[in-house]
Symmetry: C2
Subunit: 412 residues, 2 copies
């Protein structure tokens, strides 16, 4: 069961002028599930993306990077079931054939199409079944197809993940709508499993490329479920330019407001991934301050968030909080700058409860307070490293029997 | 159930002249369990150790380092139940009081005693109960107390871990006997949870300090259960000098043979930790070759060994082998030198089965062969990075429901 994540109501997902979406059951890996999505963009749209840093990055990721560098993007094709990663040169051909098939039916060039895949690694993509499904996607294209698309990109997700806002910026209405998928193999590094956010604002290509990195850093790059960076992580930001709100330079009026609105949607999607993390029963926010650098703060956050011992203690609601100290003490493995961490200066809070200071248990700490603080389905861990002013944030979930069950069963 | 790890037979643990061991039930954290061990060393013994790199390293680890630097060690005191880590200055006092109590009854100086603790982090060590138990340990001291000690240092271990050999080197009989404990919070960095190996050979202090590092590197530093480096890891090597075999300089005859014998005992102990890893149903050896450096090879080994997705696939005996590629692709996070890894050159074998080459699934690979190779309780994963000649090895176990159960229950 996802943690405090009600299925979004389709009526609340605002269409974005210039974007239409259609889905179908293409039978990519299993029958009777929506597994293919086509997103069509109006001419003049700008698109920017950030992608996985996994060296075995998927073929579609490599093709996306090539196409984003050269062409005006007019369509996105997303399949589930097969990741088309660890597939060598045949995988690259399959990704290119995907683009060619979509280009044919939409009457655009193949390099104007971005391909995305998610699912099992190292198995071949059945590109003929994918191509055969595209006409059905095209027939289904509609401006309010976001909720269908949110469903069609799911793999082990238990709920569809979508978010949408309409705001008025500089007197102009702006719509921002996005969808994402991901529940396991989640530790994005520049991106998430798959996230797509579109706005009707006018955003120049350089500003959009800047925005996608900054937004990813404050949203998808703060999530981890199991520390396994996927081969296919992609986060795509689309600006169709159909609204009158215009952001074409860094000094554009209200840029900060616009960025905050886009970031807000991306954060809802990113948090939804942790809330629906495989087997999750708790949503954990880890807030690290007092660091020399933001990277240092996040290194500590990830050390806590990736510790199986910390995650199983959260599952058990057991305030076995020494495990958090143990994880903090290992964080220098993520960031060698932390080698000189003075543990006597580190403070740790669970919710409002001061747990640790002066290298040990806080004098004021009572076991019953810790036990109470471990019970809620949403828990904030706060750490002050006492060595600087930078801070960073990580969202994650606990580690339950069901994580093992899901991952022992997946594929079988 | 530990994987292929029969309880060692007490009769096979050879006493080491100059070493006596005694254990008792001191009630450190729970009643009715042997939780306190005293090891007495003859005058003239040399002792060297390597310790955890966790910044929140335990108070006894800090005291051990001080005492090893200044004194001729005559005794070791080991308690389970409480780790005396994350305990601040009161923890340091408790560790010093432990040494003082042992020094009093053995009539040695406090800085001639090494303290070791393992158990729950951030809870105070009941040093008065520990001190009260020491006379019973002293009364129990005996040369063939190794098997009792192997039991008394266990926490979540399901079997006692011990190994022993007698070899003839340069015409002289040499005995090497060791014990270890550890099943979770295992990713030693310079050492393991707790490992103690003694020999009766004559080894000079500089040679012993060199040996302990080299042996740790080939044994305990190759094991991981869950990637959580403990606050208390310690590996201690003792040379009592009661045999006539003499190794006092790097050019001593038969040094290589002696080192191989010590390493052999340490490797059995280290592998025993992975075989008895919390919830383990499989023992996995990951052999990485074709690397630029040994560190690079081990970074890839750990990336595979720490991936919850790979570990759950082993538990399920599911040849979902793309997860191994995904883990290899993330290894540059452990060693930035791997950023330029050419995945097209990487080859992966499961046992004798070539699984992946040319960036994808091997042409010769058949799913049924992969399925068969996943079934045994012992599996070797071999990786060739195709970029150099260095190699490294990691031992680990799979990730089962029981890991979650054990760690959700531990302490409660």
């Amino acid at each position: 069961m996802p943690v405090n994540l009600n299925p979004p109501v389709a009526a609340n997902l605002h269409p974005v002028a210039g974007v239409r979406l259609g889905v179908t059951e293409a039978g990519i890996r299993k029958a009777n599930r929506r597994d293919l999505t086509l997103i069509e963009l109006a001419p003049g749209s700008h698109v920017a993306g950030v992608f996985t840093q996994n060296r075995f990055c998927a073929a579609p990721v490599q093709v996306c990077k090539q196409h984003l560098a050269t062409a005006e993007i007019r369509a996105l094709v997303i399949n589930t079931g097969i990741a088309n990663a660890g597939t060598g040169e045949p995988g690259m051909q399959a990704a290119r054939q995907t683009c060619q098939a979509a280009a044919r039916i939409l009457d655009v060039r193949a390099d104007q199409v971005l391909p995305f895949s998610t699912g099992v690694i190292m198995e071949p993509l059945p590109v003929e079944r994918l191509a055969a499904g595209l006409p059905a996607c095209q027939s289904a294209l509609k401006a309010d197809g976001w909720y269908d698309a949110a469903h069609a990109i799911m793999t082990t997700d238990t709920v569809a993940k979508a978010a949408s806002v309409q705001v008025t910026i500089a007197g102009q209405p702006v719509t921002i709508t996005g969808i994402a998928k991901g529940a396991g193999m989640i530790k994005p590094n520049m991106a998430t499993m798959l996230g797509f956010v579109a706005t009707d604002a006018i955003v120049s290509q350089p500003m959009l490329e800047r925005l996608v990195k900054e937004v990813a850093d404050e949203s998808f790059n703060c999530v981890t479920v199991d520390g396994d960076t996927s081969t296919n992580d992609s986060f795509i930001l689309i600006a169709t330019g159909k609204s009158r709100a215009r952001f074409e330079a860094i000094d554009a009026p209200y840029w900060a407001e616009f960025k905050a609105a886009v970031t807000g949607v991306a954060r809802l999607l990113a948090q939804a991934i942790a809330r629906d993390g495989e087997g999750a029963t708790k949503f954990i926010e880890i807030n690290v301050g007092g660091a020399h650098t933001k990277d240092e703060a996040k290194a500590v956050g990830y050390a806590i968030a990736h510790s199986p011992l910390v995650k199983t203690a959260f599952f058990a609601s057991d305030p076995n909080l020494g495990r958090i100290l143990g994880a903090i003490g290992n964080a220098w493995g993520n960031d060698p700058g932390l080698r000189d961490m003075d543990v006597a200066k580190v403070k740790v809070w669970l919710g409002d409860i001061l747990v640790s200071e002066n290298g040990g248990r806080a004098a004021s700490y009572k076991e019953e307070d810790g036990a109470a603080a471990m019970k809620p389905a949403e828990i904030v861990v706060r750490v002050d490293l006492g060595r600087g002013t930078a801070q960073g944030k990580v969202w994650t979930c606990d580690f339950s029997y069901d994580y093992v069950k899901i991952n022992a069963d997946y594929r079988s």
